[in-house]
Amino acid sequence: MSELPLLRVDGLEQRFDASGSLFDRLRFDNGRISAPRRIVHAVNGVSLTIRRGEVLGLVGESGCGKSSLAKTIIKLHEPTAGRIILDGEDITGHGFQRMRPVRRKMQMIFQDPYASLNPRQQVSDIVVEPWREVAGGSADAAHERAMQLLAKVGLGAEHAARYPHQFSGGQRQRIGIARALSVNPELIIADEPVSALDVSIQAQILNLMMDLKDDLGFSYLFITHDLSVVRFISDRIGVMYLGFMVETGPRDAIFDNPHHPYTQALLKAAPRIGQPLPPAAEQLTGEVPSAFLLPEGCAFRTRCPLAHARCAREQPALKHIGAGQSVACHLHDADEKPLHDAPLPVAA
């Protein structure tokens, strides 16, 4: 009976080699020459599903791997391990040619409205580029398509012949959205699409993105660091930390009843309008460890106020705890309660 999910990602890993060329790596220690590699563990065994018409919000701080995850799913980077299944088709190993038809189903909206548009390309050309690439078509047909797309995102025909620098940030992001829509995709991956925009423009773009989704019925994988945005836009939310998915669940469950200590800390740290600064005792201390050298065991244990011995030994797996909510934390493991009597964290 269960409906086939639009996107299913299983145990996805992404490691980047950041060591540079052989000459940069050469080291001479104790009479031995070696060339060690520096590997960034950007995404570490992440699994997720997105149903049709659903918005999955991915939230986390910089360096938590949410952008790398998105770019790996859309195959801008080749995954190191794991599987990506879009609409029932395993696209993990697809090369350039086999990805071409897949691009019709999956498109992307980028973060930076200034860097994501080619400054030397006319807007009418930008918005139909993906469509022309997969559908071909005459120049007239492309022009007509461009006009439709611009109208959909609230731009006019007078904008078609202009260049990106003649637009404001919000208008540029509309152009980026039109480009993603051009092939009628089923999934749009939006990588921090509003974080570079002013707050009044941000509201316009968020409204536009939700209106388009309601009209056209596609799904979003929506990546943001902004908790208020993720709360507004998501049906379900995934919280990432250092390349791991630490908690997933329905939006209201995550906000009203967060289970992972990191989710709880993140929610408390977010500035709330008209509220005093949170007391220091509730703040996370320390900083995110380097993705070059992940901590043994749980990645969050170096900052976790509730960490115990098992956290240093063993990496917690993401486990279902009911009502669609899953959490990767030993404290919520039914098999073992904490060794000392640290209180089970409950939402305030």
């Binding site: 859309i74 801008l76 691009r103 992307m108 860097a115 080619n118 030397r120 997969v134 012949a161 260049y163």
Partner: protein, 292 residues
């Protein structure tokens, strides 16, 4: 200069006119009008180009045509000195060649070599730089090693090209590395564009600006290098002397008081290269969006 301008839409003539009008209204044109050095550089270059194109109409003599030379007219000083003649404004050399005519004809050779070497370098350098920067890895390493090890070369033009491309390759590679990680290139990949289309449509137009600037300045540098090579006797053939060879010819007799044969071509090279550099500096400042 046109690189800062958007690519021309279809209807060629009207759009050319429109582009020109848009250029006149642009900030570049505005700043050009306010920059004394840019105007001076442009005037010098314009004069040089006019002189080179109108060449034969500006001189009484074709210095490359041996039949027009008269050995009896050799060693005439410039016209304003005693013994000078009106028809030889800047005097004559050992073979009775008019120094002014030699400069005009020599300039054609020098400018041709300068431009041809620049174009050859741009073509080779930009292609290799784009490929190296975009694909990276082993290809990049090989190309950049070739850039490091320069081989020796037979003729002067090939010599200049083989020296010149390295600058473009390095510059374009650097710019490509920067551009290829920009989101619009990623967007093109998500759109399903094959790599050659991404390179030509998205990367190349955005790495052109530094290319234009270096190319401008390099024409001047090439004219100078060619002159130096000619002076050392490894340049263009002696029957068609470039500006550098003219200096060398005169240099042999410089200390016997026949200074004009050498000095005028020398001053002329200085003036031209100066003009090119003035304009090049202006373009470098203007076309660099990161300075704004």
């Amino acid at each position: 200069m046109a690189a800062n301008m958007p690519a021309a839409p279809p209807a060629p003539q009207r759009s050319l006119q429109r582009s020109w009008q848009r250029f006149l209204a642009s900030e570049l044109a505005h700043n050009w009008r306010r920059s004394a050095s840019a105007i001076a550089g442009s005037i010098i270059i314009l004069g040089f180009v006019v002189m080179v194109t109108a060449g034969p109409y500006l001189t009484a003599q074709n210095p490359y045509d041996v039949r027009q030379l008269d050995i009896m007219e050799a060693f005439k000083p410039p016209m304003w000195l005693e013994g000078g003649a009106f028809q030889y404004i800047l005097g004559t050399d050992q073979q009775g060649r008019d120094v002014w005519a030699s400069i005009v004809y020599g300039s054609r050779i020098s400018l041709f070599i300068g431009l041809a070497a620049m174009l050859g370098s741009v073509l080779i350098g930009a292609t290799l730089g784009l490929v190296a920067g975009f694909y990276g890895g082993r290809l990049d390493a090989v190309i950049m090693r070739i850039a490091d090890i320069q081989l020796s070369f037979p003729s002067v033009l090939i010599a200049l090209v083989s020296v010149g491309w390295v600058v473009y390759a390095r510059t374009v590679r650097g710019a490509t590395l920067r551009e290829k990680n920009r989101e619009y290139v990623q967007a093109a990949r998500v759109s399903g564009l094959p790599n050659h289309k991404i390179i030509l449509k998205h990367v190349l137009p955005n790495v052109l600006t530094p290319l234009i600037v270096i190319a401008t300045i390099q024409v001047g540098t090439f004219i100078l290098i060619e002159a130096s090579l000619s002076f050392l006797g490894v340049g263009v053939p002696i029957t068609q002397p470039s500006l550098g060879l003219l200096i060398k010819n005169g240099f042999d007799v410089l200390f016997s008081g026949l200074w004009w044969i050498s000095v005028f071509p020398g001053l002329f090279i200085m003036l031209v290269v100066f003009g090119i550099n003035l304009l090049g500096d202006f373009l470098r400042d203007e076309l660099n969006p990161r300075l704004k």
